[in-house]
């Protein structure tokens, strides 16, 4: 006859394997976006996994990603609170990301495509932090508006307006530099 404690433990392990483990990739992406560097991100995901493990037997199985992102946000808030201000993430010194090469049919097309991506990267770097954050969560990490809202602790409408304004700024930046299209530079 298994004890109540054993049953709880088995249930916790099952929930953890089913809902938490498949989301580790997404959690690490989001944590990297929120902390700005891999070392902190990895620590943050560890905190999140421990918290999720402790709460797993009470999780109802609905929207595991939203549940995990909320746990991650709370863990992040605790970490930030426990730190000295000068150690907080400086948005200007964030790690650079590796650009992927894009196969393109012609050399000229390739150059234009690379220029387009470079100008987008430049425009992105100039965005204020709160805009960059939503762009990272939605466009880099592939979260929905709802999920990004859970990760940031703001309403989905706020995610949407920040994101749309961010992309409008990028668009204007491209226009100002005559790079309005990939593979097509306007004169």
């Amino acid at each position: 006859m298994p004890s109540g404690e054993q049953v709880q433990r088995v249930e916790r392990e099952r929930a953890f394997a089913q809902y938490v483990v498949p989301e580790i990739d997404v959690l690490l992406r989001v944590a990297t976006s929120l902390t700005g560097n891999l070392a902190d991100a990895e620590d943050l995901v560890q905190d999140t996994l421990i918290r999720a493990y402790r709460a797993a037997d009470r999780f109802d199985g609905r929207h595991p990603r939203a549940w995990l992102l909320t746990i991650l946000r709370n863990a992040q808030r605790n970490r930030v609170r426990g730190r000295r201000p000068e150690l907080l993430r400086d948005p200007d010194t964030e790690g650079h990301r590796i650009e992927e090469a894009n196969p393109s049919p012609s050399a000229e097309g390739e150059a234009l495509a690379a220029e387009f991506d470079a100008v987008v990267a430049e425009a992105f770097a100039k965005l204020p932090r709160h805009m960059r954050e939503v762009v990272e969560l939605v466009d880099f990490d592939g979260l929905s508006y709802r999920e990004a809202a859970d990760a940031l602790g703001v309403p989905p409408g706020t995610v949407m307006s920040r994101l749309h304004r961010a992309r409008q700024r990028i668009r204007r930046y491209l226009d100002d530099r005559g790079v309005s299209h990939r593979g097509q530079v306007s004169t």
Partner: protein, 93 residues
């Protein structure tokens, strides 16, 4: 009534402009998304606008770095360890 419904499915450029980014993000409901898609097919101006934002979105997606595979692996092992041994700090990996 029928007329009203017809009118509602024909979106103006202004209406499309307001929901264009949400549409490209797959964040609007099916029926509205179809109405937007129909408009984009028939309207050169909005179609071009949609292309620009799709390209920006794709370029941003390419900015995202690859996830460090060793970090993912460490976290998976950490998760397995949690599952197998609980979160007793004395048994930390």
């Amino acid at each position: 009534m029928i007329r009203f419904r017809r009118r509602r499915t024909m979106l103006t450029c202004r209406e499309v402009g307001r929901v264009l980014q949400a549409h490209l993000d797959g964040e609007i409901e099916h029926q509205k998304a179809q109405a937007v898609a129909t408009h984009l097919n028939g309207c050169a101006g909005c179609g071009l606008e949609a292309d620009v934002y799709s390209e920006i979105k794709a370029a941003l997606r390419r900015q995202a770095g690859e996830l460090a595979p060793d970090a993912v692996e460490r976290l998976r092992r950490f998760g397995e360890h949690l599952s197998a041994h609980g979160d007793d700090p004395l048994s930390a990996p």
